[in-house]
């Protein structure tokens, strides 16, 4: 029976640590820096909660009472009886911390109503280490109390994991989004006002429809128009590629599969960058066309057509990846059946194959739509004067007329667009699910495409492949050219500017890129294991455990796929800039952003892998006396290794290429490679930008190939391993779907 008390002691120690030892409030110079220790005695701001109470922070009184009560119950009450009470105290503690944290800001009450009711109060800084420990302690009370009550088979480890994950998801997904909505209704001083919303929601810049009459339309309509064009285009091209790869004998078609790796390793603005080199004002395509025809093309690439082209190049591979799965998923015997019933290839394709692909096509369309809406890098580089929602949000924050309310309104509009697409997809797909993969052996072969389709489609695919190769070749080549468009002599200058090292007076990195490069590397390295851990843990809970609110939890995770990075960026700024949680300008906020932005991928991969594991394996381990932690460590994690490795690599790579959310969160101290490159582009330093991008791509290819080699080797040794699906490709499909 000491087990219950032992873990309760752990939570209590955590609480005592938080209240009596650690500094209660946020430390601006950084808790981990440790500088505050020198001033600990002289500066009351660094004192623990107990002394803060003494200093007059009476809002802390209830938490002392609650922790004290649990301490009393620990001594006096038997585990069977106190469970509900302890869980309730934990919940009350959490609730009180949230209430007081949100109500009392830096300058006193956050709302005038409270000032009027209770009189004025001294302000408080954001939560610090002490407060965080106390929150963990309350979370522990909830989990352990419920465990003593026998919830979820009395499994304290599972309950702790559930509580912790729900807290994290609420804090880092839902709270920021809510803050964003709230941010729309606040003025600079944080007071409630509808002025900003009213002004922006009716802004003709956003909603005007004058393009119908020959003018230019509002950003919202332009963004939507662009998204529809990109979605339609990339779906069509993706389907063409998928058909060519699976249903023709075209040469090099195996090589086309390599396409699928491109969007993963390409930082999102790189395509835009390459396009400007190609078709910008001084681009060689522009120049040769102008020379040949005498037309003045000018800056046509800047604006919607350019963005559209860049997005087509960026997202066609994703659509291809989805549609290859769809096309291969159609059972050949269905087509063979159709052919035996006197239908030719064309009729079979039209009447059987295409309708079966319809849900997949819709899926690809909606992915293209959401990706285009969320894309920040390409519009940033190619937007020119006419931006889209995601760039407009950025300029509303960092531009001359800094207007958080406008940013919040725009972000909300963007979020509504993408979420509607997401829900439309769910509803639409819910009704039409022709699962043609039956799991039965299917000996048939795919019907080849009829010639009258194969030839035109093949031509388009060949052309587009060449175009893609040219664009990527340009990225490699562009870094070695002195001044693009003017002086094409070969040089290493850009690489030297970016990545020079010096041996004078000891070894040092003198290139301009090193700073952001190393920051990117260590932040990506720090975020990757956390992402994988949170993702796999969530997957384990979703697949293996039953807890109240599970479907909501799962749905929330899936939904976060549809939240554009820009929206996340702006919402993190609005949420974590002021107490109770203050993290802007730190590396921590970048890490959290990556973890919760990339976690859904880990979850999907984990869910897919775990569904293949027999549930009896966990149960066997439990009945053999291992607790949940040992079961995870010894049985589940070893069997999930491929999925975990995939999640690690994926989140690492995504952290390197991510821009849309990151650009809001970087600071002078913690700059990320992508944000730095965008800065270079804005200053017109294309050479260095391209050189830096090539290096990033090279690093990511190295990581992915190295990972592939490691996994491949392991498979050779144990061919009979249960999870035999190629993890990376499986992962990619998961991501894309």
């Amino acid at each position: 029976m000491t087990n219950e008390n032992r873990r309760l002691d752990l939570a209590l120690i955590c609480g005592v640590l938080g209240l009596f030892i650690l500094p209660w409030f946020h430390i601006r110079s950084g808790f981990f820096g440790g500088e505050w220790i020198h001033d600990l005695l002289s500066n009351p701001r660094y004192w623990p909660g107990f002394f803060q109470l003494y200093l007059g922070k009476l809002q802390l009184l209830p938490v002392f009472a609650l922790v004290g009560t649990v301490g009393f119950l620990r001594q006096k009450a038997a585990p069977g009886r106190r469970g509900s009470l302890i869980a309730m105290i934990g919940a009350m503690g959490l609730a009180w911390m949230v209430i007081q944290g949100l109500s009392i800001g830096l300058r006193g009450w956050n709302w005038d109503l409270l000032t009027a009711t209770f009189g004025s109060i001294e302000g408080q800084p954001a939560f610090g280490a002490g407060a965080i420990f106390l929150l963990l302690s309350f979370a522990g009370f909830i989990s352990f109390g419920l465990a003593e009550k026998g919830a979820l088979k009395g499994d304290a480890i599972v309950l702790s994991a559930v509580t912790l994950l729900i807290l994290l998801v609420v804090t880092f997904v839902f709270y920021p989004i809510l803050s964003m909505f709230a941010g729309a209704f606040q003025d600079f001083r944080g007071n409630f006002t509808t002025e900003g919303v009213m002004r922006n929601i009716t802004d003709p810049q956003i909603w005007k429809l004058s393009c119908l009459a020959g003018g230019s339309c509002g950003i919202a309509w332009r963004t939507m128009f662009l998204a529809i064009c990109t979605a339609a285009g990339s779906t069509t091209l993706g389907l063409a590629f998928a058909l060519i790869v699976t249903r023709t004998n075209m040469p090099f078609r195996k090589g086309l599969r390599l396409l699928s790796i491109l969007p993963i390793i390409t930082p999102p603005f790189v395509i835009g960058l390459a396009l400007t080199l190609m078709m910008g004002r001084t681009g060689f395509v522009t120049e040769s066309i102008e020379a040949a025809t005498g037309l003045e093309l000018g800056r046509w690439i800047y604006g919607l057509p350019g963005i559209w082209l860049a997005q087509m190049l960026s997202f066609t591979p994703i659509s291809f990846l989805v549609l290859v799965g769809v096309v291969e998923g159609i059972s050949p015997s269905l087509e063979e059946a159709s052919q035996t019933m006197r239908s030719g290839r064309w009729r079979t394709f039209r009447k059987v194959s295409l309708p079966l692909m319809a849900p997949g096509l819709a899926n690809a369309f909606l992915i293209g739509f959401i990706e285009s809406m969320a894309d920040f890098g390409n519009p940033m580089v190619l937007g020119g004067n006419g931006g889209v929602l995601s760039t407009e949000i950025f300029f509303a924050v960092v531009g001359a007329q800094s207007d958080p309310s406008r940013a919040a309104v725009l972000a909300t509009i963007l979020l509504i667009f993408t979420l509607s697409a997401f829900f439309a997809q769910r509803v639409w797909l819910g009704k039409r699910n022709f699962a043609t993969v039956t799991g039965k052996g299917d000996g048939g072969r795919y019907a080849k495409l009829p010639k009258r389709i194969a030839i035109p489609v093949g031509t388009v695919v060949a052309f587009w492949s060449l175009f893609t190769v040219a664009v990527y070749g340009l990225i490699l080549f562009g870094g070695f050219v002195k001044v693009w468009g003017l002086d094409h002599s070969v040089t290493l200058d850009h690489y030297i500017t970016a990545f020079a090292v010096s041996f004078e007076g000891g070894f040092s990195f003198t290139g301009v890129a090193w700073n952001s490069f190393w920051t990117t590397m260590w932040i990506a390295l720090a975020a990757a294991p956390l992402t994988a851990a949170v993702g796999i843990l969530s997957a384990w809970l979703i697949v293996r455990q039953d807890f109240p609110g599970k479907s909501a939890f799962e749905f929330g995770l899936m939904m976060s796929f549809a939240i554009p990075g820009t929206v996340i960026g702006i919402s993190y700024i609005l949420a974590f800039n002021l107490p109770p949680l203050q993290m802007t300008g730190t590396a921590l906020i970048l890490i959290f952003c990556f973890v919760f932005r990339n976690m859904p991928v880990g979850v999907r991969g984990g869910v897919a892998a775990m569904s293949q594991l027999d549930k009896n394996l966990d149960e066997a381990s439990l009945t053999l006396g291992a607790n949940s932690a040992r079961t995870l460590k010894k049985v589940i994690l070893p069997l999930l290794r491929p999925a975990i490795q995939a999640a690690l690599v994926y989140s690492f790579v995504r952290a390197i290429t991510s821009i849309s959310a990151v650009i809001f969160l970087v600071s002078a101290k913690y700059n990320m490679a992508t944000a730095y490159v965008v800065g270079l582009v804005e200053n017109g330093e294309y050479g260095v930008a391209i050189a830096y991008s090539s290096v990033l791509i090279f690093v990511m290819i190295t990581v992915i190939v190295g990972f592939q080699l490691i996994v491949g080797e392991r498979k050779l040794r144990r061919p009979e391993n249960k999870t035999k699906k190629s993890p990376r490709e499986g992962k990619l499909k998961e991501v894309a779907a």
Partner: protein, 353 residues
């Protein structure tokens, strides 16, 4: 902790709901130490749920479960002194046979885990397979590893969830005798779940037949076969024809009954005079082509199964399912036959113990 009730499992008013669905309404059951008790029933009868509640893999919605006199209702599986053999064996595919058997011993923090694990493997005769991976063993060997893995922990109660269902018929007979033999030698309590009545009859000290989450009948194999409590039991255990009969008089232990015009003397189990049902085993019905005076019927279909014939017979009593061990001659469809019963294969249904 040796205890007076060591190895006893007790269900007290246990109920289990999954949402709106009631899997088990109200279960009271005591499994005595050292016995092999089988939970038998068609799929969905709640037998596996009952087993999983002993293991702690399901939590009862109401009531309590005691193991060895201790209330374990809220105890997680890893803190209960039971171990389980799974239908799919659930051998960890990434661990060798030895590591699998050692796993539970190490969870319990035993120092001589390896030595005990080898002892366990000796018990099932698989010592030399210790370094292999489970996937390198045959189905029967995997099954024995799963048994060894559960046994080495010397639990109060061993749970077996349809342990033989993945084996072929021959192996099934072999392994079930082996399990029974080990159980009797080591004298532990075992709870065995199966839907195969033959298996249940072969291995059990006691059989608990379940239906819709309730206990339909609970007794020794002999009791279940000889005095079925209901038509369901009679039909489920050893396929019987359920017939109407009249009990004309009861004299102490004997009941005079009549099936149609034919009269028989059966053992009485607290029945009373009047209408009743009885179970007639398929092989207790004798068909006679020559003598067609008493009860008669007509052959509807016939099948040859090597060591016996199976007939379907249309009769005044209804359709009868008959097994004839006389394989020299086959009765053609449409033949009219006389029907007689062997009293040893007749049992009155119901009554009280």
């Amino acid at each position: 902790m040796t205890h007076l009730n060591f190895g006893q499992v007790r269900f007290e008013n246990v109920g289990k709901n999954y949402g709106d669905f009631t899997a088990i309404p109200d279960l009271n059951l005591v499994i005595e130490p050292g016995q092999l008790v089988t939970l038998l029933g068609p799929s969905g009868c709640g037998k596996t749920t009952t087993l999983r509640m002993i293991a702690g893999l399901e939590t009862p919605t109401s009531g309590r479960i005691m193991i060895g006199g201790q209330d374990v209702t809220r105890l997680p599986p890893n803190e209960r002194d039971v171990s389980m053999v799974f239908q799919s064996y659930a051998l960890f595919p990434h661990m060798s046979v030895l590591e699998n058997v050692k796993y539970g011993l190490e969870s319990s923090g035993l120092k001589n885990a390896e030595e005990l694990a080898f002892k366990g493997l000796d018990l099932v005769g698989l010592r030399e397979k210790a370094p292999r991976l489970p996937s390198e063993l045959s189905g029967g060997q995997q099954q024995r590893v799963a048994v060894a893995r559960a046994l080495v922990l010397e639990p109060q109660v061993l749970l077996l969830d349809e342990p033989l269902s993945n084996l072929d018929a021959r192996l099934r007979r072999l392994v079930r005798t082996e399990i029974r033999e080990i159980q009797q030698r080591l004298d532990f309590t075992a709870v065995y779940v199966t839907h195969d009545q033959e298996e249940a009859l072969a291995v059990s000290d006691r059989i608990v037949v379940m239906r819709d989450g309730r206990i339909e009948q609970d007794g020794t194999p002999f009791e279940l076969y000889e005095s079925p409590a209901s038509e369901f039991i009679a039909d489920f255990i050893g396929e019987a024809n359920i017939l109407d009969c009249d009990i004309s008089s009861i004299v102490e232990d004997s009941a005079h009954i009549a099936i149609g015009d034919a009269k028989y003397l059966l053992r009485n189990r607290n029945h009373s005079v009047g209408k009743a049902k009885l179970a007639a085993r398929a092989n207790s019905i004798k068909l006679n082509k020559e003598n067609t005076t008493g009860l008669t019927g007509k052959i509807k279909s016939a099948a040859y199964l090597g060591d016996h014939f199976q007939y379907e017979v249309l009769s005044d009593l209804g359709d009868l399912f008959v097994i004839d061990n006389e394989t020299n001659h086959q009765l053609e469809n449409g033949t009219t036959v006389g029907i007689d019963f062997d009293v040893r294969g007749l049992a009155l249904i119901g009554g009280k113990k």
